[in-house]
């Protein structure tokens, strides 16, 4: 029997969420950037596949930090 392993359940994998179009617009407006200026994540990244994100989606990553408590990071899903 193959057991389904979800890597998002692993303790060191931070929380990844897909932003709604409204949230993306808000994000881009706050930083006054175009969507292509966001940091990128590959479409075939294991987490991207697991949460079912598609090219063009923006992921919000919530990480815990020693110095800042919680930080947010945003990555655009891209091909290759």
């Amino acid at each position: 029997m193959k057991e389904e392993i979800k890597i998002t359940d692993h303790v060191i994998v931070p929380k990844h969420e897909i932003l709604t179009p409204d949230e993306i617009k808000h994000l881009l407006d706050t930083y006054k950037i175009s969507i292509n200026q966001l940091p990128r994540i590959a479409e075939d990244d294991v987490v991207v596949k697991e949460i079912g994100a598609n090219v063009g989606d923006v992921l919000k990553i919530t990480r815990s930090s020693h110095t800042a408590g919680v930080t947010h990071y945003y990555r655009l899903v891209v091909k290759e």
Partner: protein, 837 residues
């Protein structure tokens, strides 16, 4: 300013024979350089039409002199074509996808692909003409085979010529492939390979010229042999030789062929060698440049200058200058320095008139020029006290490796720096040299001062604590000054302070304690409590906890954890409370006070500091003897098979662990004996206050050195089943595997000495390997991060303006302004609360 255009794109390609002919001004055909009279031969490799290198002569092609003629190419017609070595792999890949008969791509599809993908899918049969394809083999650096028969450059070129442009477009090849097979060799201008005339009048040619002569000579011979119809094998040999010479002309470090050498045996430096590596054109001449207005000499410590000063030898100060524009405000001063001339400090070396004419100031002309000077002149005066300079020690591993200092001109020949700034430079005075640069404009000086001045670098961004702080003797001195029994008469106290050059208010008492003297340097509003380094091993000492209330040292001693580099709590606190100037003042005064204390009291260390009492000696030898017995027991149990193994370890490995643990315990016991029995003396003060050395050093000199390890294990290497032939095979005893039970003072047995040198060698190897490794890692890291920038919206962007981080470091904290890398919430709350009151 010239009309500026933006560079849209750059395309690199390969020169075609046509272009080479068009660039060239000379046809090279002769291998000789000079005629018997010493004049360059026309059509030779040094043909004067290829540019001028002798000053005074004019270029025969363009008429320019040495400065304005950049040289002109020549060309050499090769008797037979040659593969371009640097493209030989590309030629190989093209051969694999091009039909041997019709030169078309071996694909039916007309879709654009990459050469890489096409190689995988290319068929065995040509889709256009049906020709069966052979198997192409490539042998580095420049030989090709097709079905085991050699494929010569001429054949390759013929195939490439047949390939239609449209086919090349499909695999995105933008050059004609036949250009990769050289028929016309461009001969670089003489200006890129100048010959030098030695003192003897002998001419010495550049490596490139030597190589070109070889090429021309072989080419000539090949041509003659072809013309007379020589047998094929001779022509093949010469052809191969020509290929070799042209190839090494491009790159003389090719694998698979011998390097071309000088008569002396030195390898020739050809084109690729000129560009590659740290010494090559890119890293040595383009990415890095030599500069003027700099100096380098040995450094030595000087406690009597401030941390933001640098002692500059007068000889250097007379050589380095600053351009000063003459105004109403400085004309008197300028005239004074000009009158001093170039040889008397503070003088001046050059004066530029308002109309731009530059005059050298000499002993003869100095008075005349001084009279002549008016507003608008620019005088290059000597470096003077208070000038701002940049001071640097390599390797420059972090930003504090280059700091702005103020000049202090001094006698003798070394740069002087305050000992407290040696940690950021990682400098010591065993012969270290440092560099000094003089910013020439007011803007540069202001920028250096604002960003790089020593005062602004006290807190290191590496760990968020003070890096510039008193060390070594300063700390010993402050400890001796502030320990509990140190009391001085009023006169003695005043003497120490005066000696340190400190003007401070002392309590008006007959007897002044050292703590009171130290307190006179503290800011009135300083309140802090912490544990001293002295605290370790002296937990019950009343001095082990430091208490400072309202700028008074109530309790405790001052040592490394109070003022030391990387941990000093008082320096840290003052840095947070006050201005950069106040911290540097504090560091200056406190370090001078420490030295003054030592100078008045005296401070001596000697081998007798490490003497152990008879009682202690007995305890030490008992501890070691007991450990050796226990180990013998362990070995005995092991041999009887009674030893219990540790999880995940074999019985052998477990035994090793047990032995190591038992011996380490014995060494610890020795350490305890030492710290309990060695009387307080200056050596112990140094170790306990963190001024220099540690208790481990004392233990190793006084009691026992302990286990020597190689790669973290007891020493096992050597002969079969034993380390040295003096032991029995299979001996597991401590002595035979690197345990040293004696002290440095008592002396080591020959075995022990050998174990110690094994360990010492490992340490040495490790150190040199690690520095090289980490240097290269840093280089790669810096290259990867160099153009990241924190923008005004607090995002980190790369050079394309894409976001890398939404907050620097994801927490927005500047480590150089942080509390050990973190934000001190309590301090912030207290500060805000204080504001509200």
């Amino acid at each position: 300013m010239a009309d500026m255009k933006e560079v849209q794109s750059i395309e690199f390609g390969v020169l075609s024979p046509k272009v080479i002919l068009k660039m060239a001004t000379v046809r090279i055909a002769r291998a000789e350089l000079y005629d018997p009279d010493g004049y360059p031969i026309d059509g030779g490799v040094m043909d004067p039409r290829m540019g001028v290198i002798d000053p005074g002569l004019r270029c025969r092609t363009c008429g320019g002199s040495v400065g304005d003629c950049g040289g002109h190419f020549g060309y050499l017609e090769l008797a037979r074509p040659i593969v371009h070595v640097l493209y030989s792999k590309f030629v190989y890949r093209l051969l694999k996808v091009i039909c041997r008969k019709c030169g078309k791509l071996l694909t039916g599809s007309r879709e654009k692909t990459s050469l890489k993908d096409l190689i995988k899918t290319a068929g065995k049969k040509c889709t256009a003409c049906g020709e069966e394809q052979g198997e192409i083999k490539f042998e580095k650096p420049y030989s090709f085979w097709e079905d085991k028969t050699p494929l010569n450059p001429m054949t390759i070129r013929e195939r490439f010529e047949k390939t239609p442009d449209e086919d090349l477009e499909l695999i995105r090849v933008r050059i004609r492939p036949e250009w990769l097979i050289i028929t016309i060799l461009p001969v670089p201008p003489v200006t890129v390979r100048p010959s030098i005339t030695l003192e003897t009048g002998e001419r010495s040619e550049d490596d490139l010229t030597h190589k070109l002569v070889d090429i021309v000579r072989i080419n000539q011979r090949l041509k003659e042999n072809i013309d007379i119809g020589a047998p094929d094998f001779i022509i093949e040999d010469l052809w191969e030789l020509l290929q070799y010479h042209v190839s090494t002309f491009f790159d003389n470090e090719l694998t698979g062929v011998p390097h071309a050498r000088h008569r002396s045996g030195r390898g020739l430096k050809t084109l690729v060698q000129r560009l590659k590596t740290k010494e090559g054109r890119f890293r040595s001449n383009l990415a890095g440049k030599r500069v003027n207005f700099c100096a380098r000499t040995v450094i030595s410590p000087d406690n009597n200058i401030d941390i933001d000063e640098v002692g500059v030898p007068e000889i250097i100060a007379k050589e380095l200058t600053l351009p000063i524009r003459v105004t109403d405000f400085n004309i008197a001063m300028i005239k004074e320095v000009v009158k001093n001339g170039p040889n008397v400090w503070p003088g001046a070396n050059y004066a530029t008139r308002a109309d731009g004419r530059k005059k050298k100031i000499t002993e003869e002309s100095k008075n005349e020029i001084a009279e002549e000077i008016t507003n608008g002149w620019i005088v290059e005066r000597h470096l003077q006290n208070g000038d701002i300079v940049l001071f640097n020690r390599q390797p420059s591993l972090h930003r504090m490796s280059i700091m702005a200092h103020r000049v202090r001109v001094m006698p003798y020949r070394t740069f002087r720096l305050n000992l407290c700034v040696s940690p950021p430079y990682n400098a010591d005075f065993d012969g270290d040299e440092m560099n000094l640069h003089v910013p020439q404009t007011e803007e540069a000086q202001a920028e250096a001062l604002l960003l790089m001045e020593v005062q602004n670098q006290i807190r290191s961004p590496r760990f968020g604590g003070p890096i510039i702080a008193p060390k070594n003797d300063h700390i010993s001195g402050l400890f001796i000054l502030t320990k509990k029994d140190s009391v001085f008469t009023k006169e003695e106290a005043a003497q120490i302070l005066a000696y340190a050059g400190i003007d401070a208010q002392l309590p008006d008492k007959e007897k002044v304690s050292g703590k009171e003297i130290f307190s006179s340097l503290l800011p009135q509003n300083l309140n802090i409590e912490f544990q001293s380094t002295w605290h370790k091993g002296n937990k019950n000492d009343e001095d082990s906890n430091v208490v400072i209330k309202n700028g008074k040292l109530i309790k405790g001693v001052i040592d490394k954890s109070a003022v030391g580099s990387e941990e000093g709590a008082i320096i840290d606190k003052i840095e947070k409370m006050g201005t950069p100037q106040e911290v540097s003042d504090f560091i200056n005064k406190v370090s001078r006070l420490g030295s003054a204390m030592l100078d008045t009291r005296g401070f001596t260390v000697g081998i007798s500091d490490n003497d152990l009492s008879e009682e202690a000696k007995k305890l030490v030898s008992k501890a070691i003897k007991k450990a050796e017995e226990d180990v013998a027991d362990l070995i005995d149990q092991f041999n009887k098979g009674k030893l219990e193994g540790l999880p995940d370890r074999s019985l052998n490995a477990s035994l090793e662990v047990y032995i190591m643990q038992r011996l380490a315990k014995a060494v610890n016991e020795c350490g305890e004996v030492v710290s309990a029995h060695v009387p307080e003396n200056d050596t112990i003060y140094m170790a306990r206050t963190g001024a220099r050395g540690s208790l481990v050093n004392v233990t190793q000199t006084a009691a026992c050195i302990g286990q020597e390890t190689v790669l973290g294990q007891r020493i096992h290497r050597g002969y079969l089943n034993r380390t040295l032939p003096h032991f029995r095979k299979g001996d597991l005893s401590p002595i035979s595997h690197g345990f040293v039970g004696t002290s440095f003072k008592a002396g080591l047995t020959p075995f022990e000495f050998f174990w110690d040198s094994l360990n010492g060698r490992e340490g040495l190897m490790d150190k040199s390997l690690r520095t090289r490794h980490s240097g290269y890692m840093e280089r790669r890291l810096v290259n990867a991060l160099q153009d990241l920038k924190v923008k005004y919206d607090m995002t980190v962007r790369d050079l394309t303006n894409s976001v890398v981080q939404f907050l620097p470091g994801e927490d927005g904290i500047d480590p150089a302004k942080s509390n050990w890398g973190k934000f001190d919430v309590d301090a912030f709350v207290n500060l805000e609360a204080a504001k509200d009151d």
